[in-house]
Amino acid sequence: MTISLAGVRATLWRSALFAGLWWALTNGRADSWGVGGVSILAAAILSLRLLPPVPTTISRIGLLRFLGFFFIQSLRGGAQVAWFALRPRMGLRPGIQEIPLRLPEGIGRVLLTNTQSLLPGTLSVELRGNRLCLHVLDIEAPTEAGVRHAETRVAHMLGLQLEQP
């Protein structure tokens, strides 16, 4: 393993993150840092193994806009499904839709797949290559427009280029 600047940066950031987690879990007890130090080191090594540092730049404005989008849409999603569940005639018109993604392969697609299950009316069923298979609560709803919007947000946050589907 060659030591790169990105690797050192990732190691420091991740160790700081795990130290913060340890602090929260132990309520900041001073006598726990012996075990804590070992755990933090082990967690940092494991995380570098499982997710090697990649030179991605997370745009801060992009992150904020994604979070805003995510919170508003998950509020809508939860409210919609609660409304379906509670009203006397549920009026579900479910179906399966397949949508070719514009995001490049990798973390962006995975994040989108996971996000999509919490957004209004869609549940990710399968991701094969660039094709995302969704179960939708209302087959008439503009599902593709929603996915396109989410894709744009994810791409902006992670600094990814959208491809032609």
């Binding site: 132990t26 998950s74 939860g78 609660a82 569940a85 009026g91 299950s117 009316g121 179960h135």
Partner: protein, 103 residues
């Protein structure tokens, strides 16, 4: 009651309403896919409101961070597990319910 307590109470109650709706959806919805919608979305929102309500009641930053962590972990877990269950169901040939089928 102080304003904070009232706000906390309202948030907790809202959270409970979403958990209730998610559970009703789990019981009423016709197939595995639609039930996963109810669980993933309504419970995520319910937990979010309950965490917000509890955040107003704690003065310890470590406890606050722990509450937020619980929500984030539950969020990631419900999205991932929902995806895995739905994918398995589809691989096993479970056909999604369509309007017009018997519930």
């Amino acid at each position: 009651m102080t304003m904070t307590e009232i706000a906390s109470f309202i948030l907790l109650l809202t959270g409970a309403v979403f958990f209730f709706a998610g559970t009703v959806g789990l019981l009423r919805f016709p197939d595995v896919y639609t039930r996963l919608h109810a669980l993933a979305k309504a419970d995520n929102l319910g937990l979010g409101f309950i965490v917000l309500g509890l955040l107003l009641q704690t003065s310890s930053p470590a406890t606050a961070l722990k509450l937020i962590l619980i929500w984030l972990l539950a969020l990631a877990a419900s999205a991932t597990v929902g995806f895995l269950i739905a994918r398995r169901a589809r691989q096993n040939g479970i056909v999604p319910w369509q309007s017009g089928d018997r519930p």
